[in-house]
Subunit: 252 residues, 2 copies
């Protein structure tokens, strides 16, 4: 049985039965419960299911729809997201970006987390609906379909009215000269607006983003609180960042 096959089986089971019990599946397929748990954890990180004690339940259709359009969330993003979760303090206010990495963060936040989450991503909202103690605030605006987030003048303006302790931002490039970059101008403007409204901004960037550059700059790169990545800390770009006083959090 291939790993991918197992994943498909779990998703199919989830769709058909409405739930998955780790123990039962393990027995049915003749594999260890650990593997099932590992698979479920990965699926949950991609927003394709909701992990619960003993197994998993279907995620909200909105999240599944978005997650399926993306390719599988690579391991790097999952690790980065898991590390970033540690930055979130209970009782604080968090600005959470859109995109797969930020979505993975949302999926990995503890279910009973007591904090306020501000986001411009409908998908992140959907992922956090089941968190009873999380207060959600959605920044509206024109929807940029490619990444399914609100962008444009209205969204940037809406962002002016909020303040937060921490902002977690995903980018597609972390480059010495270009700074922190992304692939769309409106999106870059929105990310910039978000970063400006938080006391501290941390960047989420899996290894393949380090040293890469996209067309539009979000921020000149020393202007951030820290960076979460799974890349080797000895990477020249990261060493230069560290020398500039940017805190690095290495995900493993």
């Amino acid at each position: 049985m291939l790993a991918a096959e197992r994943r498909d089986h779990l998703l199919a089971l989830l769709a058909r039965e409405g739930k998955v019990v780790a123990k039962d599946v393990a027995a049915d397929l003749g594999i260890s419960e650990d593997s099932v748990r590992r698979d479920l954890r990965d699926l949950a990180a991609e927003g394709l299911c909701q992990r619960v004690y003993g197994g998993a339940l279907p995620a909200s259709p909105a999240v599944v729809g978005y997650a399926e359009r993306q390719s599988v969330t690579p391991d790097g993003k999952r690790r980065v997201a898991a590390a970033a979760v540690g930055l979130v303090r209970p009782g604080s206010t968090l600005i959470l970006d859109g995109g797969t990495t930020a979505l993975a963060v949302a999926g990995l936040l503890p279910a009973d987390l007591d904090c306020t989450v501000i986001t411009h991503s409908p998908t992140v909202v959907a992922a956090l609906l089941e968190h009873p103690r999380a207060e959600l605030f959605l920044l509206g605006g024109r929807i940029f379909k490619h990444s399914a987030v609100a962008c444009g003048a209205a969204a940037v303006e809406a962002a002016q009215n909020v303040s937060a302790d921490l902002c977690l931002l995903g980018v597609t490039g972390v480059h010495p000269e270009a700074g922190l970059t992304t692939g769309d101008a409106d999106e870059a403007a929105m990310k910039r607006a978000l970063a400006a409204r938080a006391a501290e901004t941390w960047i989420l960037a899996s290894a393949e983003k380090i040293g890469a550059a996209s067309p539009f700059r979000v921020l000149p790169w020393p202007r951030i609180g820290g960076l979460v990545t799974d890349a080797d800390p000895t990477h020249p770009v990261l060493e230069r960042l560290a020398a500039d006083g940017v805190e690095l959090l290495t995900a493993r």
Copy 2:
């Protein structure tokens, strides 16, 4: 039986029966009363139910909305939604409410529909992401979790800046004296704001809503363009509406 599943079961029961008796549920599911009590205590702590001696009652009428999201869209709502789709003109601007009925409308809109959709529901946005020619505008604000839509002052204010040709609004009650009603005050205010920004407002109400009344009024009922329902047009409430000049569209 998973713990999370038990919780869902309790919420569904609460929505369907209007109450939960700890002893009965324990016997039905073959679990100890302590577990049921523990679950109810947790749910109450999350504001999802109201704990009473012997069991629990729904926290607010809005909880019904929450439970509805779990189950499949009933046939009546689907018929109403299908009929409402016919009201949407290509090239026009549409304000679409949150809630299951409006979501069903979103799901039934033709894939190549060329129009602008304004909504305060992240779920509706997710449903329309695959419509390449649809321009989406999301109204942000504090998320009202029970129905997963943006509400509150910020959302109402955001609504002031849009205008549309048609507004499709779901309500939970259509009553001769109470008017058009829903289960939450903020939600009612939001729906009112949406209706005010459209040239014409149509109400979506499946048969069980006709003659029912919820705590909070959205609009006094003659102030609408039309009503889509699958109820019998000879229903006294509908006849009175028709006499007041409200257009009726009967879904079959």
